[in-house]
């Protein structure tokens, strides 16, 4: 059953993301969480690998997620099957759409309704990517804190008398903020500028940046044994 679900989920992701691979991240996050296929930390590792290997980021990620889901079901064979299913699922919608659009290219791109729809979609896609930034930052720095859970908790407790309200929140806050990875925060601050600066006319190669960050992680967390 996981295979059908996997196909359907990735088909939807392929159909509804406009603006490329990064726009898919929030949907992939929602998907793996909903079905309990991967933890957010695992997904983040996968994203690091997908980013530092050749090929389109989201195809790499889909193959990896498919492997993981399929392996859990049917071993190695299942893994390869899952990878195939996820990849085909994510590619299929655009394959059909592109062939149709290419056929009617000029009419399609000049159509003011199409332009209008795209103008409306772009700010949403950008917001989704920012939302992905927030969630990965939290995952790295405050792994037990969840904006969604906090909001849900707030809505639940907002009418309660103040002593109960306090009681409810005390444990929640302890749990949410219990693990604070200040070293990771520091690393994010050190690494981030390099993702944005240009040397000469060129950005630093992200593959190099990822590998350098890995080595930095090895040094800080491995060699010096700083608590993660």
């Amino acid at each position: 059953m996981s295979f059908l679900l996997l196909f359907w989920e990735y088909f939807q992701i392929g159909l509804f993301t406009i603006g490329g691979g990064y726009a898919m991240i929030p949907m992939v996050q929602q998907m793996v969480q909903k079905h309990g296929w991967l933890t957010q930390a695992e997904l983040l590792n996968f994203m690091g690998i997908a980013e530092s290997t050749p090929g389109p980021f989201s195809i790499n990620l889909a193959t990896f997620v498919g492997m993981k889901v399929g392996m859990a079901e049917l071993g190695v064979f299942g893994g390869v099957l899952g990878a195939t299913i996820a990849t085909v699922g994510v590619v299929l919608p655009s394959l059909v759409v592109i062939v149709v659009v290419t056929k009617i290219l000029n009419k399609f791109m000049q159509n003011k309704w199409v332009k209008g729809a795209l103008n409306g979609i772009r700010p949403v896609v950008v917001a989704l990517i920012l939302s992905a930034v927030v969630s990965v930052v939290l995952e790295v720095i405050l792994p037990n804190f969840s904006v969604k859970q906090t909001v849900a908790k707030l809505l639940q407790t907002i009418g309660l008398p103040s002593d109960q309200f306090q009681q409810q929140w005390q444990g929640f806050a302890e749990q949410s903020f219990g693990e604070f990875n200040w070293v990771s925060l520091l690393l994010v601050c050190v690494i981030s500028p390099f993702a944005f600066v240009k040397i000469g006319n060129k950005k630093i190669n992200p593959v190099f940046l990822i590998l350098a960050s890995g080595v930095l992680g090895l040094l800080v967390f491995g060699v010096f044994g700083v608590q993660q």
Binding site: P56, S58, A83, T87, K112, G116, K148, Q228
Partner: protein, 200 residues
């Protein structure tokens, strides 16, 4: 353009190489495709390349894959679309399956964890970078800022399905076009044309 001269094998092989040797996703791939398809092989003109970018960015799916499908279809029809798509996807697919076993073998290892703890910090920065890049493609005005803000809050704070957010965005964009049409002015269209011309 010499449609007849491009064989299906050439098409597949060109995109296979592109898939195997480009890092950094769709936008990085576009510059490589441009060098390959326009400058070197002369399969397409610059104008056709520009069309390709606009289509790849404004249709659903992965930009790199969309580009391959579009070029393949243009040069050799359905068979071309299928083979170009297969070509661009296959290297990632094979590589990632192989890599999965390596990763799986090391999972839980202290050094593996340390290495990936560092990488996670970098992924944060790279996604932030993608956000900055993408935000430059938006026509910022009161409406788009409002939609941006609402979508951000909803997708960050609730479990609302993001697919509906995208559909709502498209709907709002269409309604806005309708309202603007009533006012007999379409400055957004012109601005968008310029933007897409410059998106290269």
């Amino acid at each position: 353009m010499n449609k007849q001269k491009v064989s299906l094998w050439q098409l597949f092989w060109t995109f296979f190489k592109t898939g195997a040797f480009t890092f950094g996703g769709g936008l990085a791939m576009i510059s490589i495709l441009e060098e390959q398809l326009v400058a070197k092989k002369k399969w397409m003109t610059s104008q056709e390349m520009l069309d390709m970018i606009v289509i790849a960015e404004s249709t659903p799916g992965v930009i790199a894959v969309n580009s391959a499908t579009h070029v393949g279809y243009k040069l050799r029809g359905i068979a071309g679309a299928l083979l170009a798509t297969l070509g661009i996807v296959l290297p990632s697919f094979l590589l990632m399956i192989g890599l999965y076993f390596v990763v799986d073998a090391f999972q839980g290892n202290v050094w593996y964890n340390a290495f990936f703890a560092g990488i996670q910090c970098c992924v944060v920065a790279l996604i932030a970078n993608a956000f900055v890049k993408m935000s430059k493609l938006v026509q910022w005005n009161a409406l788009s800022i409002a939609m941006f803000a609402i979508s951000f809050v909803v997708s960050t704070a609730t479990n609302f399905n993001v697919i509906f957010l995208i559909l709502i965005g498209a709907l709002v964009g269409i309604v806005a076009t309708f309202v603007q049409g009533k006012k007999q002015q379409l400055p957004i269209d012109n601005a968008l044309d310029q933007k897409q011309g410059g998106a290269q």
